[in-house]
Amino acid sequence: MTAYETVIGLEIHVQLATRTKMFCGCELVFGDPPNTHTCPVCLGMPGTLPVVNAEAIRLGLMIGAAFGGVLAERLVFHRKSYFYPDLPKGYQISQFDEPLVAGGRLGDVGLERVHVEEDAAKLTHAGASGRIGGSTSSVVDYNRGGTPLAEIVTLPEIRSAEQASSWLRLLRETLRQLGVSDVNMEEGSLRCDANISIRPVGDTELGTKTELKNMNSFRFIEQGINAEVARQTALVEAGERVQQETLHFDPRTGSITSLRSKEGSHDYRYFPEPDMPPVAVPDELLQSALAAVPELPLERAERFRTELGLHEESARLLAFRRALGDYFEETLGAGGASADKQQVANWIGNDLVRRLEAQRKDDEAGETDTDPAQSKVSPAALAELVALVVDKKINRKAGEQVLDVLVAEGGRPQDVVEAKGLAAVGGADELRPVVQAALDANPDVVEKLRTGNMKPIGAIVGAVMKETKGRADGGEVTRITREILGL
C-alpha cells in the first residue's frame, strides 16, 4: 500500500491592533452594538474615498521585520472584486502582486508573503445552522468592515496537523509579543485557513489541494486537518480524485462539507486601486517599525539556552510566555550573578506557575498569560528563596512550603523560614552525628551499601529526615553516608 505525505500551507488573517479602521477614521471596538462604528467611507457611500491608515502599515512592516522578510519600498493596493453584502464597495481593497512583505521565515516554516487589506463586515444568517445555507434572512454589522488585516501566507512546508497547530501557537505568541494584534481566535482577530493536499511519499509535485476555511481554535485546526487528510486519503485509495474546492469543518460533527467548488469560483478581477496611487513607504514609518520590534520568542529561547545555559524545554517555556520570561530575567537580576539560572527557571516555570494558575479561575481558556509580576511573590523574594535552597539553607520541601506562604501572603523567605522553623539542619558538623546514628541503627542497610548497592540509602535518608523533622537535605545525607562508609 502506498504511503502518503501531507502537505499543508496556512493562510492566517490577523486583525491589526490599530485605533481606527484601515481606510477611514472609525474607531475599532469589539462587542459594541451593530453599526455604531461606521461612516460614509466604510459604508461605501457614493463619492467616498479610502485613505490608508499609516499605523496599519507600520504594524504590517513590524510583522515583516520580525519574520526577516523583504519589506516593500512602496505601497500598492489592488481591488479584489466580488459581490457580497459584507463588502460594501463590491470590492475589497487588498494587495496583489506587490505585497507589503515578501518571503521570511518563522521557526520551521517559510513564508510566502504578508499583505495588508481591509476586513469584511460581519454577516449573521438567521436560522439554526448560522450559515447561509438554509437561512431565510441575514443581517450585516459594518462595525468590523474595514478593520485592518494582515494576511500571512506560509509556503507549503507543513507536514502534519500537529506541526500546523504548534507552528500556529508560535505564530500567535510571536504576534502577541510584537504587539501588533490581540490574536484572539474566539473574537476572530486571528483566523486560519489551511490549504491541504497529499502525495505519495517521495513525490515532489504537489497534489490537488483543498482549502479548509476559518478554523477558530488550535484544536479544531488539528481535528479539521486530520479529518481532511483522512478524507483525501480515502478518496485516493478508492481510485478517485481530489477536487479543488473550499471546505468547511464542523467541529461538532467532525464532518467536512463543500462551500463552493472551483467551477463556481470567482474571477476577482484584480486591478490597481485607482483611488490610492502607489506611494513610497515613508522612511520615518519604516524606521519606527524596525525600532519597535522587540526580542521575539524564538530569539529569546535561543539566548536563554546558549547564554544562560537553560535546558531547551525551560528556555522555550519562559521565552514563549513573555510574562514568565520577563519575571525570570528580573529574578536573575535580583539574585545577582550567583543565581543558579536553571534552578530559578525551574522554580518559576514549575512551582510558581502551578501555584498561580491554581489560584486563577477566571480564565479557563488560558487566553491570557499568568503573570507572576502581578502576584505577591516579588522577583527578589524568589531569588532569595532559590538561593536558600541552592545553598542548602533549607531543603526543597521546605522551599516549597515557603513558596506557598509567599504566594498567599508575600513577604521575605528568610522571615518565613524563621517563623516556621524550616531552617535545614546545618552543615555536615550538625548532620554527621545524626547520619552516624542512623547507620548504626541499620546494619543490614550498611552491609548492602558496602557492596556498592546504593538503593537502600533511602532508608538512611528517611531515618535522618524523621529525626530532623524533614529539615535535612537528602543529597547531603547521601554525601555524608558515603564519606563515613568510605564509598
Binding site: P46, G47, T48, F83, G90, Y91
Partner: protein, 505 residues
Amino acid sequence: MTDPISLSVIDAASALRRGDLSQDELFTAYRDRAAADDTNSFTWLADDLRAGLGDRDRAPGTDRPLAGVPLAVKDLFCVTGVPTASASELLRGYRPPYTATAIDRLQHEGATILGKTNQDEFAMGSSNENSAFGPVLNPWDRTKVPGGSSGGSAAAVAAGLAPAAIGTDTGGSVRQPAALCGVVGLKPTYGTVSRYGMIAFASSLDQAGPITRTVADAAVLFRAMTGPADRNDMTSIGWAGQAAGIEVPSAERLDGVRIGVPTALLGEGVEPGVRAAFDAALRTAEGLGATVVEVELPHARHALAAYYLLAPAEASSNLARFDGVRYGNRADIGDGGLVELYTKTRHDGFGAEVKRRIMLGTYALSSGFYDAYYRRAQQVRTKIVEDFRAVHEQVDLLATPTSPTVAWGLGERTDDPVAMYQADVTTLPQSLAGVPAISIPCGLSEGLPVGLQLSGAAFSEQRILDAAHALEQTLGFDVTAAWMPAPPASRPAPSASASTGKDAA
C-alpha cells in the same frame, strides 16, 4: 440698474459686496429663470438662498469672495441632504450625509447652490442623452444636444439660468459641453481639485471644473475649489502651481507664447466649419503675438482606444457598490434571494450606456484578458503622458478644436456608440495625460458654437487662463447670445478674422 442676470460671477460678487444688489434678489432672479427652464438643465432647485448653503447653520456671509453667488452644481456632487443621483434611476431620491470637498470649499467662499444640474448617468456620455431625468436641450438650438456629460451645467450657463456651474471632466465632460454650448469650461490638472464626494465614474481621470461665461470667472471658481490637498482624498495634490496662487487673468497679448498644433491628431474627423473657426482663432493668436507651430503627439491617436478600456474598467468597479443593499433604490424581488436582489436592482436601476460600460470594463479586467486590455491601455497611457511632457519642452500650450463637430441633433448618435465616443477624440489625450485644459468659444459654424481647446503642462492653469483671457477679449464671442435680447452697442466688437456669436444673434 443693470439686470442682475447679465453679470458675470466677478461682477455679481462685487455688486453684492457693494450692496448694489441683494443676495436674495440675485438668487431669486436666477431661481425664477431656472424654474421656467425649457432645456431640462436642472434636476433639483433650491427653494431659497439658505437651502443652497447646505447644512450650515450660518447666514450667508457678505465678506467672502463669492458671497451670495448662486452656482449650478452637477448632480453627481454629494451635498448633505440635497438629492444627488448622478442622473441614475438607481439613486433617484438619494440624499447624501455629507458634502463633496469641492462644493464645501465653494460654499466656504460664500457661494450658494442654486440647483443640481442634469448630466449623463454616472457621467457616461457625450450628449447628455443618457439621463434618468431625460435629455438636456442645447440653448442655441433646442433640437440639438448640449454635449456631455456635464450637459446640464453647460446648458444652464449658456441659457442664462445660472451665472456659472460646476461640472466634472473625465474624458472631456466639462470642455466638450462648454464648447457645444458656447461657454467657457476648465478642466484643471488631475489632483488639484479634491474628488471626495464626487460620485466616481473613472477614478484616475475624474476632475471637477468650472463652466462659466468668462475665463476670469473660471479662474475665480477654480481658485476657490483648489487649495491645500484634501486629507480625504489620496489622489488630491491641491494647488501645486505658482506660489502666489491663481490670479484673475488680465493678459491682453500673447507675446512670446508658443502654441503647438498637433495637426495629425485633427485628421479628417473635424468638420470644415469647425476647422475654419479654429484656424481663425489661431490667426487671432498670432495677431496677439503668439507663435504657432505644428507638433507631434505620436501616441495620442491611441487615446480613444485606451480611454474606452481604462475608464469602463474603473467604472465597472466603482459602480459595484450600487447593489441595493444599503442605499439607493432596491428592486422588489418578492421571495427572491441575494442574486435576484443584485440582478434586478442593477437591471432596473442602470441605463443602457452604463450597462454597456460596466460590461466593457468587466471584460477588460477579466482573468485572461487583463494583460491584453487593461495593462496594454495603461502602457499606452504612459506613452501619452510622455508625449505631453516632451511636447511641452517645445511649446507652452497646445491648441485643438475642443470637439470635431458642433452640437448634433438629439437622437442622431444614440444608436451608434462608437460615433458617440468619437466626439471626445480631441479631449481624451489631455485627460489621460492629466494635464489642464480649457475650452473657450471661438466662433460659430452653422449657427452653433465652436470651442477652442488650450491645454498645457501640469499645473500651468495660470498660463492657460491668461492666454484664454487674451484670446477671449479679442475674439469677442457673445456667450449670452443664446438667451439675451439683441446685444447693446457697448459689447466688444467681434474679431474681424473669426465668425462670432454676433452673427448668430
